[in-house]
Structure formats: C-alpha cells, structure tokens
C-alpha cells in the first residue's frame, strides 16, 4: 500500500509527465490532450485513441521565469504555472489542450497559449450555464460533436459510437470506484487519509483509465487490510479547491491539526457525475445530458435550479460534517464569490466555517496550522 501511494504521489508531483511520455512511446500514433483543469468529456478524447490528461498547473515544482510578466499581478498561480510549463518546453508531450468556460483568466490563458504554441491543437469548449433551458441540451450535444470532429481530424480516424460507449463504460466504472472510496472515507475517515485519497484520485489525471481503475482496486484491498484506530478529530467538509490544488503539505496539515476530511472538491473532474452516464442511445447526447443533469455542483458550473449554497448544506448534512473549511486559491474569483453566499447560508444554519487562503507555491504553513488548530479546539471543547 505504501508503495502504491508513493507511486501516486510521484505521478502527481511530476512536471516532466513521465506517464504521458511512456504512454506515447507505447502508442507511436497516439496523441495526448491536456485539459485545464476541472472537467472535460474525457470519454470523447479517449474514444479518439488519445490520452486525456488533467492538467492542474505545476504546483510548487516550477519557478516562474516568464509567465509572471505575461499575466501580471492579481492573477492566480495555476494560470501562470501552466503557461510556464509551456514556455519552458514541458508541454512537449502534448498534442493539444482543451479549455472550458470556468473563469475569465482561464479563458484568456487558452488564447495566449494558442498564440504562443501554434503547433498545438488548442480548443475551447463552451459548457452551458443555463441548464434550465431545454435548448442547452441540444447545444451541448453539438458542442461535443464539434470536439469529436476536431479530434477525428487530429487523429486521422473516425470515432465510432460503439467506441464512445465503451469509453463511457470504462469511465463510469472508474468514477464509481472513486465515489465508493469517498463514501467509505466518510464512514471511516481514520482508515483513508485525505492526502492518500487525494494522490490516489489525482494520479488518474495522468494515466489511461484502465490503468487507474486497476490502481484503485489495489487501493481498495490495501485500505481494507489496514489496521486503523479512530482519532480525536472533527468531521470537516473542504470546499473551493476545485481548480488550483493546495500543496500536499496543506492537506496533510488539516488532518494533523485534528480534521477528518469527510468530503472535499479536490480534482473534482475525476468524479464529476453523481450517477453513471447512460450507455444506451446516442453517446454524445448521454454525455451532454449527464453534464446538465447529473453533475456534481461546483463553483465553475452554474445551474440556478439548485443554488450551490443550498447544495453545500445538503452535502454537510449527508456527510454529517461538523464544519466547513474553505480552501481558496489566492485570486480565485469564482471561489471568492461563492464564499459570500456559502458563508451567509452556513451562518443561517449555524454551521461553523473557516476560510483559508492558499497558493500553489507555499512552503511554510505555521500560520495556517495555528488557525486550523484553534478552530478545531473550539469545536472539540465547545
């Protein structure tokens, strides 16, 4: 188990993308498509015989030499480290990059990359914000069809519906296992550590789905065999780290300071759907309808049929969380905005909460540690 987790951590920390290079060496005609960074219809990419890679910047593993000047002050780190990966040649294993309508900085990054790397296929998916409108279904299906056609051209082959359905089956299985691990952790948070689940799930961003599914199964066995004793911790739901990821040290710190993480939104794209995507009928339609009707809630997906602040309360109740910790990346505007309505609703419901701001490049956590410890103590001894 330790070896498995060590391997996952290594994959997650690798800004040289060794797993992607290895896959390309094994698939000489294969293409790798990076998606930035929350959600993409990976099934379409995989069905085109390509490797979809979830790209969350470079974290604390890359010094900014060039990208700071291109993006200026007040812009989040993940946008800059992603561009830095490109400007330092590290995106070489990729043939394309896919963006979507998550925020304004990310959207501009898409086109800055397009200008600076004309050899790359760079595309932007418009994921609808009006899920209540019947017309959004047809629109999103056409958007996925456009993506499929672009990938077919890049791959030089047609993507058959059968192949798409097969990929939906494989990713459904993968997501089901991840959902299962999250359920299990909520029941026995002492058995599955937050950082372990984090690296385990996020490693999937860099691996073919079948390989990641096998790895998850191995982890199930490992966790089941593990002897673990409950600790004196409070049950906490972590929200707002859906895009830029906090340093691993910060996730570890939360647990060490006395929190059981019973829910979080780290690398949310890997378990984007609350239920399986249907595998019968038109696969693009199934993908589109699932995005509109079966997605998890996130600050970058807008669907006023169920306001996110209400869903947060539902999640707190479902996981029996005692408190919410907001982990907000510096300059992440979607998270800052949602925090206002989340905070208001939590206060109405009498649920304690704590806001922590982080940056990818954070090496010392003393101040945050004191804040978390004080917060936990207040709850443990109230």
């Amino acid at each position: 188990m330790d070896e498995l987790l060590r391997r996952c951590e290594e994959i997650v920390r690798d800004v040289g993308f060794a797993t992607v290079r290895r896959w390309k060496a094994e698939h000489p005609d294969g293409k790798a498509i990076a998606y930035f960074p929350v959600y993409a219809p990976v099934e379409v990419i995989a069905a085109a015989g390509m490797l979809p890679v979830g790209l969350h910047g470079a974290g604390d593993r890359l010094e900014l030499q060039h990208a700071d000047a291109r993006f200026g002050s007040f812009i989040c780190s993940i946008v800059k480290t992603t561009l830095e990966l490109g400007l330092t040649g590290r995106l070489a294993p990729f043939d394309g990059m896919l963006f979507s309508s998550i925020c304004d900085s990310a959207r501009n990054l898409c086109f800055v990359l397009k200008r600076n790397f004309p050899q790359l296929y760079v595309d932007f998916l418009h994921l609808p914000h009006n899920a209540a409108s019947a017309s959004s279904r047809e629109f999103l299906r056409s958007e996925y069809a456009r993506l499929k056609a672009a990938l077919e051209q890049l791959a030089g082959r047609e993507v058959k519906d059968e192949r798409l359905r097969e990929m939906i089956v494989r990713y459904n299985e993968n997501r089901r296992l991840i959902r299962g691990l999250y359920e299990w952790r909520a029941e026995e948070p002492h058995r599955i550590r937050a950082w372990e689940l984090y690296v385990l799930v996020r490693a999937g961003n860099f691996l073919p789905v079948e390989e990641h599914t096998a790895l998850l199964r191995e982890a199930y066995d490992g966790f089941a065999r593990r002897q673990a004793k409950p600790r004196d911790s409070i049950r906490v739901l972590v929200e707002s780290a859906f895009c830029e990821q906090p340093p691993l040290g910060l996730i570890r710190l939360l647990e060490e300071a006395g929190c059981y993480l019973v829910e979080d939104d780290f690398t949310l794209g890997r378990r984007w759907f609350t239920a399986d995507i249907p595998t019968d009928g038109d696969p693009l339609q199934a993908l589109a309808e699932s995005y509109l009707d079966r997605s998890v809630t996130s600050s970058v997906r807008h669907d006023w049929r169920r306001p996110r602040f209400r869903v947060l309360i539902e999640k707190v109740r479902a996981r029996r969380a005692q408190a919410v910790i907001f982990l907000i990346a510096k300059f992440c505007e979607p998270a800052y905005f949602d925090y206002v309505l989340f905070k208001r609703e939590l206060e109405r419901e009498g649920i304690p909460h704590l806001l922590l701001e982080f940056e990818e490049k954070m090496y010392t956590f003393e101040r945050l540690q004191t804040e978390v410890e004080t917060f936990v103590e207040a709850l443990l001894f109230e």
Binding site: D104, F139, F337
Partner: protein, 416 residues
Amino acid sequence: MTEYRGWIHQRQKELMRQWYARLDESARTGWPPAICLMISGNCVEVLEAFGIVPLYPEVNALQLAIRHQALGPILAAEEFGYATDNCAYVKADIGAYLIGVTPTGGKLPRPALVLCNFVGCNTYIKWFEHVATFLEAPLYVLDVPFLRDEEPSPADVAYVVAQLRELVQRIEEITGLRFDMDRFREAVRCSQRVEELWSRIKYLAQRVPSPFDAYFDAITLMGPLYVHRARPEGVEFFRLALAELEAKAARGEGVYDRERFRVVIEGPPPYPYFRAFRDMFARWRATAVASTYSTVGGIWEFGFRHDPEKPFETVALHMLAHNLTNRNYLQRYDQIRRYVQQWRADGVIIHFVKSCRLFSAGQGDMRDYFTKVLGVPTLYIESDLEDPRYFAEAQIRNRVDAFFEALERHKRASAV
C-alpha cells in the same frame, strides 16, 4: 489643460438624469417594471419591446466611482464577506445596496427579473446570482456561447435565439405584459440607426486631428448608447452628436489646440481618478483615436448592425460576436492592430485593471505581441476601474510621461 466640452456632454447628462428618473418612478410606483441586465452585448431591444426600463448595475457602480462614492460601499461589501481581490464593480454595487446608497440619491426599483446576459464575463453570473439572492428576485441566465472561432456557428445562434424566445415568455409570465413584435422591430430599428451614427462618429477619429477622444469622450457617449440605444431619443442624440463632431472636423478642430500624439487605449478607465487620468494624456496633447473599452457594449465600426427584418437573429448575433467581451483574446489583439493601422496611432496604452480579469489576464502577452511582433510602442500601467485604493497617481504619471518622451524622440528620429 482644456479639452473639448460641448453640447454632447450636457445632453448626455440630461439623458442619464431622465433614465434615473424613470428608475425612480419605477421604484415608487411599480411602473414601468425594471429588469436588471449587463452592459456587454446586451439585448435591451427585448426590454424596450415591452416598455420595460433597463437597470444596469455596472452603470450604478461606475457612477458611484466617478462621484467618489465607491469606497464606502466597497468596504461594506468586504465587511460582508467579499474578498479584497473580488471585482470592485460588484462590491460597489452590492455594498451600495447593503448600506442603502444610490448614485443619485433617488430610489432604485426591485427588478421584476434579474437577467444575466452572460457574454464572456464569468463574474457577471456570480454578480447576478448575488443580486437575485439579496433582492429575492427571479434570475434568468441567458447563456451566450463564447466565440471560440472567427464566427459563431449555426448551433450557437440557434441556442441564443431559443433562449431569447424563452426570455420573452418568461417576461410575459412575470409582468403580465404582452410581447409586441412591432415594438420590438421598432426598437431594433432605433438600435440600427444609433449604431450607424455611432460608427460614423468613430470613423471621424481617423481624421488628423481627431475631433474627439475615442476613449474619454467615447465614455461620455456610452451612457446614452446603452440606456437609450433602442429609443427615439437615442437616435436623436447620436444624430446631433454626429452633426456637432462633423462640424468640428470640418473646421479642422482637434481635441487639443495641436494634436501631438495619437494612441489606442485598451482597458477600462480608473473611474475614481477619471479626471486625473485624462489630464495625464491631455498634458501631452495625446488623443485616443480608438479604444477597446468603448466596444464592450457592441462593436459596430466594422460593419455589424441590428436588422429589424431579422430581429431575434441579429440580437443573438450581437450578443455572440459583435461585442468585445464575448470575443476571444486574440480577436482583441486583432481589433487593436486594426485600430493602430487604420486610425494611424503612434502607440498603444494598456491599462490593466485589478478588478477585471476578463480584460486584464494576459495583457503582458498582449504587450509582448505589440512590441515584439508588431513593433508598436506600448505602455503598460496598472490600477483599478472602481477601487480608489489602487491608483498610484505619481507612479502612473511618471510612466505616462516617460512613454510620451520616448515616443517624441522616436517620432523625431523617424522624421529625420
């Protein structure tokens, strides 16, 4: 330094006062109903077809800033939970609501509908979700696909048209008013005329000297452009504005006694220091001959017009493709390039505003493109459009001075 202040400036103040009076009336009597919407790529023609008065939170925010009343509401919003790094337009607007302040002191109505015409700016959705929540008003997010390619696809247009029709139905249900197709066509016809007149005004800035400043004076014209575009008084205003500026051009009059520099300005202005910022350019007798900010609500100088024969389709096309915010970043580079070349500018001023990531994220790359690829002198400065705490006046003035000094040397050297 004096610059042109004519009839246009007085008349636009009257028109804005009229608009606030309508809002005040709506707030007091409940009639006409008001609907909140966004400036960028707005579909005000649909509202006009119902006789509904538009309520633009952005205009309120900028009015607060230009009247030096923004800081109080911003601090109130931060106290409430907004971050220092949230858009200050939103904070000023929501904060003003929290502490009960309006730009004119008059009343603002509770909107019958909060209509988020989402064209590019993600902050719009968050902002309007908050407005709808705090005012307990219904929300409709009209989702406009971002312009990923050069032109919108038929699927994009169909999607927006379907939502516009849905919106019409929603407004009928909420207000009890009936949609009037003839009135809609008339509103679209007014817009078409205003767009033609506005576009001709913009082309006057190609003259040397330019009879008006296409950044600072254009902002004066933008109020009536958004609030009255689809109304006969809008048409009348722009007809007379064009006549006044054409007469000025015919007399060979520029913005200043002698125009020394022609620049293109990218980015919104620092509203809390609007006057001070303008003076920095005025002292060099530098005229903005084009600006991207004046195209937030619509880009008409390259030919697009609303069409009363195809009202829904052209309203959709305007939202999709003919406003700055829904166009992609490289299309903005290209727009500025065209301005530099066709409006014969000496350089580009990039004003990074902290609040607006849609405008500002990546402007360093934009500078790289203009200086290194095109060889156009470019100045990059940073402040904010709403929050007075981010304007370092002396520092910005020094940079502006240094830029024009260098430009002067450059011009002299090229003249030899």
